[in-house]
């Protein structure tokens, strides 16, 4: 398996990316339109969910603290542009590295906790960061950072004329994160992660250093989540603490992955592809019913999904027998 040749699956994957990349070339399909906005958000949220999937899906450590890393990435880019007047690129990198460092510092003590105790500790961390950023003047406090008007292009990573640039940016992020997770999944770290999830003591007895494995998963996960945060702030032209560092944002990482299928490679994309259009279209077309309707529907879907099939859409597909191949592949991996 060391030098694996291209398989059928890989062509599927390349085909999908090429198809997505060609989308803006089809006139009228994606210009400066609402559809482009929805597509960009699907790619962004799928990437976010996939970054969460590393530590919480593959390694089984359910974190509700990912908005902290997302927020650090967002502030990295935001401060590079607004505070220091640079391009966002050094901010992306600095934010991602800082998020990885913070994640290691946080998770070193927190991984001693198990199950619900770990989950609640991550809530507390989100709240601490949220409140500190709210009063920290250096990062803009509660007002946040507002972007100045900048010329379009890759240098500033902003586009105001059309959304095509953002679309390719989101696609690049998506390919990067899904590629890294595919790489992790098929290499040693991925096997270790799943071994730790299935039975930490057993994995340790076979010589897996479980805390090192979990911490490195968390660092990868935080690094990638921070990159998504950087993209998010560029796309919104502003950042403030409730936007990026809140329990609601943390829950987006969780819910999209859970809805699609946790611990499954395609789960995050499926979850985002269903949830994001639903959220955006209901927000756009159900305004007559008043505010909050999109989240009411969202809540009902989550409840129904947990009652019917906690493994998410991937679980339903597997129940229907469509996932027979996937199951076989997982069987081999185990």
């Amino acid at each position: 398996m060391k030098t694996r040749k291209f398989e059928q699956k890989d062509f599927l994957w390349i085909g999908l990316v090429c198809m997505l990349a060609a989308l803006p070339l089809v006139p009228g399909l994606i210009g400066n339109s609402f559809r482009a906005h929805v597509l960009i958000l699907i790619l962004l949220y799928a990437s976010m969910a996939q970054s969460w999937n590393i530590v919480s899906g593959y390694a089984g450590q359910v974190s509700f603290g990912h908005s902290v890393f997302f927020g650090i990435g967002a502030y990295g880019a935001g401060m590079a542009v607004v505070t220091y007047g640079l391009t966002p690129w050094p901010g992306f990198l600095a934010g991602a590295v800082l998020a990885a460092v913070v994640s290691v510092l946080i998770s070193y003590p927190c991984f001693k906790l198990k199950g619900h105790y770990f989950a609640i500790a991550t809530f507390a961390i989100v709240e601490i960061f949220n409140r500190l950023f709210m009063v920290w003047d250096w990062v803009g406090g509660a007002l946040g950072l507002d972007y100045p008007i900048l010329p379009d292009g890759w240098k500033n990573f902003v586009w105001s004329e059309t959304k095509v640039g953002f679309f390719y940016g989101a696609l690049a992020l998506f390919v990067l994160i899904f590629g890294i997770v595919r790489w992790i999944e098929t290499h040693r770290l991925g096997y270790y992660l799943r071994a730790v999830r299935e039975g930490q003591e057993t994995a340790e007895s076979l010589g897996v250093n479980s805390s090192a494995v979990k911490i490195s998963a968390m660092a990868f996960s935080a690094f990638l989540a921070a990159l998504c945060g950087g993209f998010f702030v560029q796309y919104n032209y502003r950042v403030d603490p409730p936007m990026v560092m809140s329990l609601d944002m943390s829950m987006k990482f969780v819910l999209i992955t859970i809805l699609g299928g946790v611990g499954n490679f395609w789960g995050p994309l499926l979850g985002a592809a269903i949830l994001i259009p639903l959220q955006e279209y209901s927000r756009a077309y159900l305004t007559a019913l008043g505010s909050g309707v999109d989240l009411v529907i969202f809540g009902i879907i989550i409840m129904l999904m947990m009652i019917k099939q906690p493994k998410g859409i991937m679980g339903i597909l597997q129940d229907l027998g469509l996932g027979a191949k996937e199951r076989k592949r997982e069987g081999e991996a185990d």
Binding site: Y117, F123, A124, I128, G290, M303, I307
Partner: protein
């Protein structure tokens, strides 16, 4: 010195209320090993009920807590019957996420129906009354709410320790299968526990309306604090919840006064993390 006493008293009274909010969560967690993520939203629903009863029917919160308690008891029982009982035992996090879905539903439903405006009851019986002891001022609404919460907690403790129902709940918490073999209908116990947990937070919400404004987000912070209290006090333990709640109330009040109001919850969460690092299963956990 009198400032210090004043701050401590405020913290103590807040802590007593937190204890009642957390007791409901603790009971559910201790018996069923389920986190009810909609716990804070149960509080919000109770507050809205109490608010509308006061606003439309002129029923004072000092009476209407019975109605909010009963209403949230039913809400809790329905939540168990239609949501939690159907996803318990499927996947570790399924009940937590399902109740998170419920919390989103309740929060945004209230946002949609009642707008995000803050609403506070005017002209309640206790409004504006206070006890003045030298330099120390105690608001009567806070005092009554705190002492009342304590009384309900004692009643709950008595129920758990001295009645057959309480023994059945404890037996179910220890070993569900063994309890079933002893003739306990554990599904009924789970239903009752979810209802009782709801009733605790419902009563707390009903009382709270006498001095706190209600809005769709009001439950979020209370829910979070209740999680911390339960994790710190050890799940299922009512005395543990009371001790942890009072500790949190005191830290909140002291940090709010002596450091800065914006840092009071930072101090609370940081203290929680410090405690949980030293004792991973809480102060009184085993």
């Amino acid at each position: 010195m009198s400032t210090f006493v004043q701050v401590m008293l405020d913290g103590l009274l807040a802590g007593m209320l937190y204890a009642l909010v957390a007791a409901g969560l603790s009971l559910i967690w201790g018996v069923m090993d389920v986190i009810n993520f909609a716990h804070g939203e149960f509080l919000m629903v109770a507050m809205y009920l109490s608010y509308w009863l006061g606003f439309l029917a002129h029923v004072d919160p000092i009476v209407s807590w019975v109605a909010s308690g009963a209403f949230v008891f039913i809400l809790g029982a329905l939540t168990y019957r239609f949501i939690v009982s159907r996803c318990i035992g499927k996947a570790a996090m399924a009940p937590l996420l399902a109740t998170f879905g419920l919390s989103m539903f309740l929060k945004n439903f209230c946002l949609n129906r009642f707008s995000p405006n803050f609403r506070i009851l005017q002209t309640t019986v206790l409004e504006g009354k206070k006890i003045i002891l030298g330099d120390i001022v105690i608001g009567l609404p806070q005092l009554v709410t705190g002492l009342f919460s304590l009384a309900i907690l004692f009643a709950l403790y008595f129920l758990m320790k001295k009645t057959r129902l309480g023994w059945a709940i404890q037996a179910t918490a220890m070993d569900r299968e063994a309890a079933e073999l002893m003739g306990i209908n554990t599904d009924r116990i789970y239903l009752l526990v979810f209802g009782l947990g709801g009733a605790c937070v419902g009563i707390a919400g009903g009382l709270l309306t006498s001095y706190l404004a209600v809005h769709p987000e009001v439950g979020a912070l209370f829910g979070l604090i209740a999680f911390l209290i339960v994790a710190m006090g050890g799940f299922g333990s009512i005395p543990g919840a009371l001790a942890a709640a009072i500790l949190i109330g005191l830290v909140e009040a002291l940090a709010g006064f002596y450091i800065a109001p914006v840092f009071k919850y930072v101090a609370v969460f940081a203290m929680y993390l410090a405690v949980i690092m030293i004792r991973p299963k809480g102060l009184f956990g085993w």
